[in-house]
Structures are given as structure tokens and as C-alpha cells.
């Protein structure tokens, strides 16, 4: 029982600790920045890409990064 109340109390503490609204915006933007770093750093072999890099408009990884950038802009303006 103590274990479970610990869980419930922990999320209350988290909520109090994250009181400043700018932290929320920074956290969401940070998630997408981290995603961009992850996407950019994935080894080509893991994605089955050949040695010849595909043109940008056919590069799925580049499109994914573009979508993540759009999310950063959305959270910057509306967050």
C-alpha cells in the first residue's frame, strides 16, 4: 500500500515542481529536439540505406526531421 501511495504522491510532487509554465514549453520542445538528434544520428545501415544517399525529396529521414521541426514551431507559438 505504501508503495502505491508513493506512486500517487510522486506525481503530485512532479506537478508542483513543474509549476512554471515555461518549463512545459521547454520540455515539449526538448522532446522534439532530442528526436531530431536521434533521427539524424541513426546509422544508415540500421535503416537499410545503401551507400549512395537518396536525393533529399526521397529521403524519409529528412522528411521526418522536417515534421519534427514543424512540431517545434507549433509548440513555440501555441505552447
Amino acid at each position: 500500500m505504501t508503495f502505491m501511495t508513493g506512486f500517487v504522491g510522486a506525481h503530485s510532487l512532479l506537478a508542483v515542481a513543474s509549476g512554471a509554465d515555461w518549463i512545459g514549453k521547454a520540455a515539449f520542445i526538448g522532446v522534439f529536439v532530442a528526436l531530431i538528434v536521434l533521427l539524424a544520428s541513426l546509422p544508415a545501415k540500421m535503416l537499410g540505406e545503401t551507400e549512395r544517399r537518396p536525393p533529399l525529396w526521397r529521403n524519409v529521414r529528412a522528411w521526418a526531421i522536417l515534421v519534427a521541426v514543424a512540431q517545434i514551431l507549433i509548440y513555440s507559438f501555441w505552447g
Binding site: 500500500m1 502505491m4 501511495t5 506512486f7 500517487v8 506525481h11 512532479l14 506537478a15 508542483v16 513543474s18 509549476g19 509554465d21 512545459g24 514549453k25 520540455a27 515539449f28 522532446v31 522534439f32 528526436l35 536521434l38 533521427l39 541513426l42 540500421m46 535503416l47 537499410g48 524519409v60 529521414r61 522528411w63 521526418a64 515534421v67 519534427a68 514543424a70 512540431q71 507549433i74 509548440y75 501555441w78 505552447g79
Partner: protein, 512 residues
């Protein structure tokens, strides 16, 4: 609520859409020879069709109506369900998770869990998903019938039977290929319909700037125009949105839901599967705006009539009232077509996935291990019919207590989402997760969900624990359960795990 008076042009558009989509689905069914053609479209789906299909598998007519109501009640925070709750996990799924489903050559998510852990974990999640899908079919029939009854004056049984026949013909004859291509068409119609409601509504409300001003003047809407409400928000505090929705419920839905994963397993190449996910994410940049802004328009235009949401307030009235009052003839036909598209795409996704899981995870595992591909096709087709009959049969009892039944199904599924994600995550990322670890994580995670869901009377937490926090902590508990029990138990050997775990590529399987 007054019903819509359809002009001859509107009727022609709706009938044309229904007949067209049924004929298209049946036509696509030619050439199906076996289970692989039926369940995975013979691995022939192009990325753009799979991507559009992913979008409408997620968004149905009930979501269009529900999101407008929630947009009215809570504001643009609801867009997070498509932003952090969809785009983030979809991109993660595309690059980290999908390759392992693909390389494992599986038909279903439970099949992957079975290979990675054991038959018990596989069967548990297969049965849970099949039960949930059966219940969901009933609720989709009911919500569709309520919508058509409210807008067009159709009777309950006429609405249910019409949608069941259209879905049955497309899915039973055409399989996944018909489902995906008709859903692509539905995606276009749904986007057009949602854009028309959003555009015409914004014009009527005096544009975005005037809409903001009107909402800003209300006494109870101070967080309506913020995507991230403060940490003490009673329903959607931003930390819970990030952790519960972004890190657990979203990924569990987009990575662990058979209806989603099956589309990408049917693509021609692994790269096309990845492109389908990214295309879906790109479309999802626009969809939440088209679906939530009508709720704000409703607030500005109908706010005095509908009032401030209280306990008995019905958010499902917002969109139908806007449709009735805003849309001219011709446009109305497109929007009604969009509602049909949403209903049909939701239904065929669930029917197709449920039949795939029954055949793959239950029939071929427990009843007829040596079933041929042709036999699986026949059983799959009959299962589509059986699920539709089952969905129709339970729709009437669901109708009688719709609110509580729908909520019960959603709560039921939320018990399993966190543990499912934990098992998939550890199963794919580390070879140390053992079969007994998987079983323990499943039990501990589901128990945590059940306790937190009952926190109000069990632990004395006033108002209970928000469902997003329940999802997060059940996920954490399941992770801990898998990690701890795996430390003391032995796992599968490396050879068996090749292609299932990210550090053990399958191409090395046959090397000495």
C-alpha cells in the same frame, strides 16, 4: 436537434460515395489467393496509401464529433492527442520499432510478443485486443447510428445495417488491400469535409483573430488558447500530457495496436513502411487543427445557447449543430460523405485486424496448427462476417447504456496500454528481458492500473488519479517488473532472438 434537409445534389454525393466505395473495395478483392494476400495485401501496399490509411484508422466520425465537443470544453489542448500523442510516437515507431516487426516477418503484434517472450504473453494480449475490438465495433455502430439519426433522421437499425453491409462487402471480399485503398479515398473525403466545416465556421466567426477575442472575453476559458495548460490543470496538466500521453498512451497505440501496425506490415519494402508512418505524421500536422477549431467556432457562435459545460453537458451536440446551421447544399453532401468515410474506415480497420489476430494468434496456434494459407483465407473471411454480426448484436445493449459502456471499454483498454508498451520496449531494446520477466511485467503493470484506477476509494485520493497518470505509472511498474524478474530468470538464447531485438540483426542468423 433538427435534422439536416439534404438537397438532391447532397443525396447524389452521399449515395455516389457509398456505392463507389463498395464497388471499389469489391473490385480490389480480385486476385486474392491466400492468407498473405488477405491479411497483408500480399505485401504490395504503396507508402502513400498506407500512410493515409493510418490517419483514418485513428480518426473516425466519433472522433470528429468528440474532438469538436472537447475543443469547446477544453480548447486547443486537445490538439496534443495528435501532436505529442501521435506525431512523436509515429516517428519513433517508424525508425525504432517498425523494423523489428518487419524483420520478424510477423502478421500481428501478439505474434511478435509470443516469439520474444512466450505463448502466454501472446495469447493474453491477443484475447484482450480481440475482446476490446469486438466491444469497439459495437460502440462505433452505436455512435454512427446516433449521428445519422440526429442529422438525417434515419432509424437505428437502418443505420447499423447499412454500415455493416458496406464494411462487410469491402473487408470480407477485398481484405487489407481493399481496406487500405478505400481508406485512402476516405482520408481525402474526410479532410475535405473537415476543412469545409473549419473554413466556413471560421469565416462565420469573423476569422481567427476575432475568434480569439470572443473566447478571451469569456469567464471560464482562460486556458482554451494554450496548447500546454498549467501543471495544476484538473484534467490535462502538461506534465501528465507529456509523460502519460506522449510517452505511454501515444506510443502504446501507435506501436502496439494491431489496426495500426498491420498497414505498415503490408507495404512493399521496409523503407515504404517508414515512409507511410512519416506521411501519416505530416498529415497529422494539419488534422488536429481541422478537428479542434470547429469546437472553438462552436464556442464563439453557440456559446450562449450551449452554455458552460457541466456534469450533464453533451459535447456531441456541438458539431452536428454547426453542420446544420453553417453548411449550404452541395457542401453538406461532402460533409455527410466525410462522416460515412470516418465510420466505414474505423469499422473496417477493427474488423480486419480482429480477424487477422483470431486466425494468426488463436486459430493457427490452438485449433488447426497446420492450416494452409487457403484455409486461413476462408477462416479470415468468415471471421470478418462473424465480427460484424457480433458488433451488430451487441450494439443494441450498448445503446441502452452507451456512456457507461463506452467508458468501460476505454478504461478496460487503458489497463493494458502501459504494460504492453513496456513489454515491447524492453523486448526490442534488450536481449536481457526474459519470458518470465514478460509475464511478471504484464501482471504487475495491469495490477498497478487497476489499483490507480480505483485510487479514490482504495487509497483515498480525492477525485482519483487522472487517466494519463495511471497510464504512466502502470508503464513504469511494468518496466520495473520485467527488469527485476529478468535479473533472476533465464532468457532465450541469442539465436532465437535474432531479428527480434535491435542489437541482434537477423542477417547474422545463419552465420557460423
Amino acid at each position: 436537434m433538427s435534422t439536416v434537409r439534404l438537397s438532391a445534389l447532397d443525396v447524389a454525393l452521399v449515395v455516389g460515395y457509398l456505392v463507389g466505395i463498395t464497388a471499389f473495395g469489391v473490385w480490389l478483392g480480385r486476385g486474392i489467393r491466400g492468407g498473405r494476400d488477405f491479411f497483408l495485401a500480399g505485401k504490395s501496399l504503396p507508402w502513400w496509401a498506407a500512410g493515409m490509411s493510418l490517419v483514418v484508422s485513428d480518426i473516425g466520425a466519433k472522433d470528429m464529433i468528440g474532438l469538436a465537443g472537447d475543443g469547446y470544453r477544453y480548447g486547443i489542448v486537445m490538439m496534443n492527442f495528435d501532436f505529442i500523442g501521435c506525431i512523436f510516437p509515429v516517428l519513433i515507431a517508424a525508425f525504432l520499432f517498425m523494423p523489428y516487426f518487419w524483420l520478424a516477418g510477423v502478421y500481428t503484434v501478439p505474434e511478435y510478443l509470443g516469439r520474444r517472450y512466450n505463448l502466454g504473453v501472446r495469447t493474453f494480449f491477443a484475447v484482450i485486443w480481440v475482446l476490446f475490438m469486438m466491444g469497439t465495433l459495437g460502440t462505433i455502430f452505436v455512435s454512427a447510428a446516433a449521428m445519422f439519426e440526429g442529422l438525417l433522421g434515419w432509424s437505428f437499425w437502418f443505420s447499423v445495417m447499412l454500415t455493416a453491409v458496406v464494411v462487410g462487402l469491402c473487408t470480407a471480399l477485398g481484405g487489407l488491400r481493399a481496406v487500405v485503398f478505400t481508406e485512402s479515398l476516405s482520408c481525402i473525403v474526410l479532410t475535405a469535409g473537415a476543412a469545409l466545416i473549419c473554413g466556413l465556421g471560421l469565416a462565420k466567426a469573423g476569422g481567427w483573430a476575432h475568434l480569439r477575442e470572443t473566447i478571451g472575453q469569456m469567464s471560464w476559458t482562460q486556458h482554451h488558447l494554450s496548447l500546454l495548460p498549467p501543471a495544476d490543470h484538473p484534467v490535462y496538466p502538461w506534465p501528465a500530457v507529456l509523460l502519460g500521453l506522449g510517452f505511454v498512451l501515444g506510443p502504446a497505440y501507435w506501436i502496439g495496436n494491431q489496426a495500426i501496425v498491420q498497414r505498415t506490415l503490408g507495404t512493399r519494402t521496409q523503407n515504404e513502411a517508414r515512409a507511410a508512418y512519416v506521411f501519416c505524421a505530416a498529415i497529422k500536422l494539419v488534422f488536429p487543427i481541422l478537428l479542434v477549431v470547429p469546437g472553438l467556432v462552436g464556442l464563439a457562435l453557440l456559446g450562449t445557447e450551449l452554455g458552460q459545460p457541466g456534469e450533464d453537458w453533451d459535447g456531441n451536440r456541438v458539431l452536428p449543430m454547426l453542420v446544420v446551421r453553417l453548411l449550404p447544399p452541395g457542401v453538406l453532401g461532402v460533409v455527410m460523405g466525410a462522416f460515412f468515410a470516418g465510420v466505414i474506415s474505423n469499422l473496417d480497420s477493427y474488423v480486419s485486424s480482429a480477424s487477422t489476430m483470431v486466425v494468426t494468434d488463436l486459430y493457427r496456434t490452438f485449433i488447426h496448427r497446420r492450416a494452409t494459407d487457403r484455409e486461413c483465407l476462408q477462416v479470415g473471411r468468415w471471421m470478418v462476417v462473424a465480427f460484424l454480426i457480433g458488433g451488430v448484436a451487441i450494439s443494441y445493449p450498448i445503446k441502452r447504456g452507451f456512456g457507461s459502456v463506452f467508458e468501460a471499454f476505454q478504461t478496460f483498454l487503458s489497463f493494458f496500454q502501459g504494460p504492453l508498451l513496456a513489454l515491447l520496449l524492453l523486448g526490442m531494446l534488450t536481449k536481457r528481458a526474459t519470458p518470465w520477466g514478460g509475464v511478471a511485467g504484464m501482471i504487475i503493470g495491469v495490477s498497478t492500473s487497476a489499483v490507480l484506477n480505483s485510487a479514490e476509494w482504495l487509497l483515498g485520493v480525492p477525485g482519483g488519479v487522472p487517466f494519463l497518470w495511471t497510464a504512466w505509472w502502470s508503464f513504469v511498474a511494468a518496466l520495473a517488473g520485467v527488469a527485476v524478474v529478468s535479473t533472476f530468470t533465464s532468457g532465450h538464447d541469442e539465436d532465437r532472438l535474432r531479428g527480434l531485438v535491435c542489437w541482434l540483426p537477423s542477417e547474422q542468423r545463419n552465420k557460423p
